[in-house]
Symmetry: C2
Subunit: 369 residues, 2 copies
């Protein structure tokens, strides 16, 4: 995986531990994954860190970007007012074909906004979504949207289902992914207004719709993809993270509370490590943005070098499996041409006017971003 087309552009300035941990992670990624990386950010800050790179470090270069979007900044405003920021430049590299993917551990709203502004939506996509995988008893379950859109429409959720279906086929290797709709009960008549309006759209899609699912169904492995709006999905993700963190901390405390427990904990620890890793963002990498013309990975704000290696791994896999191309193709195949790959601007409704499948959303309804 070398050459410009397969480079991963990494925002060197984004995240709580930038640039040190980001640069360190990028160096490791070139060695461990064999990927080519471009570090985007302040050359003066990056260069000294690169000097310490060990022998065997792979293809790594710097693209100078003079501005930085801070964690607390208003995403859309920051992205608009800082065209030379590292996150915007990283996304621009994807748009310009200089990189196949962008990775940022910075302000996640800004990464989203930069991707929308520069990488741009795949024609016909109303709203990109952010997806992430949960471990289950039988493998993994991919949930989307986990935070790109705070308020959603049924048609957007139907597109999320199509995008998640492609993801599960390509990245999880599941031929006919079972797609569920997150709800407060399995019964068809249950759910919020949004869920009740979405369900018939999912039933009409050419995919394996498995009905409404609850949290326990996800972890029991009853579906491969679970569709929800970005608000609910984010709550679900953070609850799962919170419970996981709480339980592992409590187990550690319990193990230390008695002599027998301490011994038991020590003996059990090696067996628990793989499980713990499945719940650890440092091991699982970042969340993938679906619905834009390239691969964009949103890494955890607290990412250390290891988390960055794994976020780059997710990006490289998404590039290798051509997730964004697969989504564009699925949209085209199922709904007629939505403009042959040209960039769609908000308000430009001509390219998707002919689309008829329920999950194709006319641009007119997506212009109010």
């Amino acid at each position: 995986m070398t050459g410009r087309a397969n480079r991963i552009a990494v925002d060197a300035m984004g995240g709580d531990h930038a640039p040190e941990q980001i640069v360190r992670g990028a160096i490791r990624a070139t060695r461990e994954l064999g990927v080519a990386v471009t570090l985007v950010g302040k050359r003066d800050a990056i260069e000294p860190l690169l000097r310490g790179a060990p022998a065997g470090t792979g293809d790594i270069e710097i693209v100078d970007a003079g501005q930085v979007v801070d964690m607390g900044e208003h995403p859309a405003n920051a992205v608009r007012s800082k065209p030379d920021s590292s996150v915007v430049r990283a996304c621009k590299m994807v748009a310009d074909g200089q990189a196949a993917a962008a990775v940022s551990a910075g302000n996640s709203g800004a990464t989203l906004a930069a991707a929308l502004l520069r990488v741009k939506r795949i024609p016909g996509v109303a709203r990109p979504a952010i997806g992430t995988s949960f471990p289950t008893r039988t493998g993994h379950c991919f949930m989307l949207d986990v935070g790109a859109n705070s308020d959603s429409k049924p048609e957007w959720l139907a597109q999320f289902a199509v995008m998640g279906d492609i993801y599960a086929q390509s990245m999880l290797g599941i031929e006919e992914p079972r797609v569920g709709l997150l709800s407060n009960g399995e019964e068809a008549e249950k759910g919020s207004e949004l869920v009740r309006a979405t369900r018939p759209l999912l039933e009409a899609l050419p995919l394996r719709f498995a009905g409404n699912v609850e949290g326990k169904d996800i972890f029991r492995g009853q579906v491969d993809v679970v569709v929800t709006d970005g608000f609910t999905g984010n709550i679900a993700l953070k609850m799962a993270e919170g419970v996981g963190e709480f339980l592992f901390a409590s187990i550690s405390r319990a193990a230390r509370s008695t002599r027998m427990g301490t011994l038991g904990g020590a003996l059990l620890k090696p067996s628990l490590r793989p499980l713990r890793d499945t719940m650890d963002y440092r091991k699982t990498g970042g969340a993938l943005m679906l619905g834009v013309n390239g691969e964009v990975v949103i890494a955890h704000g607290r990412s250390d070098a290891e988390a960055i290696v794994n976020a780059i791994r997710v990006a490289a896999e998404a590039v290798a499996r051509d997730i964004s191309g697969g989504i564009a193709k699925a949209l085209k195949t199922s709904g007629g041409s939505a403009g042959d790959g040209e960039e769609t601007e908000p308000g430009n409704s001509t390219s998707t006017g002919a689309v008829k499948t329920p999950w194709r959303v006319a641009e007119s309804s997506s212009g109010n971003a």
Copy 2:
């Protein structure tokens, strides 16, 4: 805790393991908790089970109810068409002052509907909510609504905050509970439309509003009460249950996977039991319904005898602390009289017309139940 006023009416026919486990749990509750119980249901089914009650069984009686609401039935329809059903009769006992609380492990929507129909809302309450406690690093956090209302309004959430505040004061013994609003990020500008509209209402309330919280904040013990709509709350609850179930099952599997792990697991097990219990509905009892004129506990559909004992314990505690009375008083104190305890019918807007505090919702907006 004896006498008619403090009796707990238990729906003997509700739940996957009714009536056997319910009756067994009720018998145990009279012995272990010293509460008086009325079993409501088919006398012919209950009496034989009571005959086996051991010596020392306390005050327990049967009220015959000829109908049963099944798990799959449409809640509101079932409750309306089956006035002699065990769940409706149990709620009617509370309404008539023959019991202080009702407990059901049956169709939870039907329990909710029966409580609304018979026990009735506290005057001024727009929508009752269902609340449940999560274990945290420092104690407990009470979340509401976890399922009474699939679509909610900001004013309802503001009332949930007031009810949760009373609950945490009375049941958790916290003088000034910290009340959080569940959102996809702590920043004030984040959140769904509902969350953004609710936040200023919570800021205006005479309680300790701690801002927006995420799942991890809950488990870290940063708030005592967390307010959310019933759809999101239900998703959050089920995700937490799902992760807990998944992790404990995975730990058991990991412990069995190696010889060292097996030994470690065996040694650690006693230390883990208290933690496991905090996540187990059988130990924690049921969810309390807040906002009706009496205590109503919704127990888990899979409740066994032990779960029923603990659901009855929650009901008895709610009675002892007079949660419903406390809520009625809080509503009256903060907002002027909303009708001195008389029953409020949907559409009767006269009694709350004078209410001015932001969390008092005029009856007119709550008539479209």
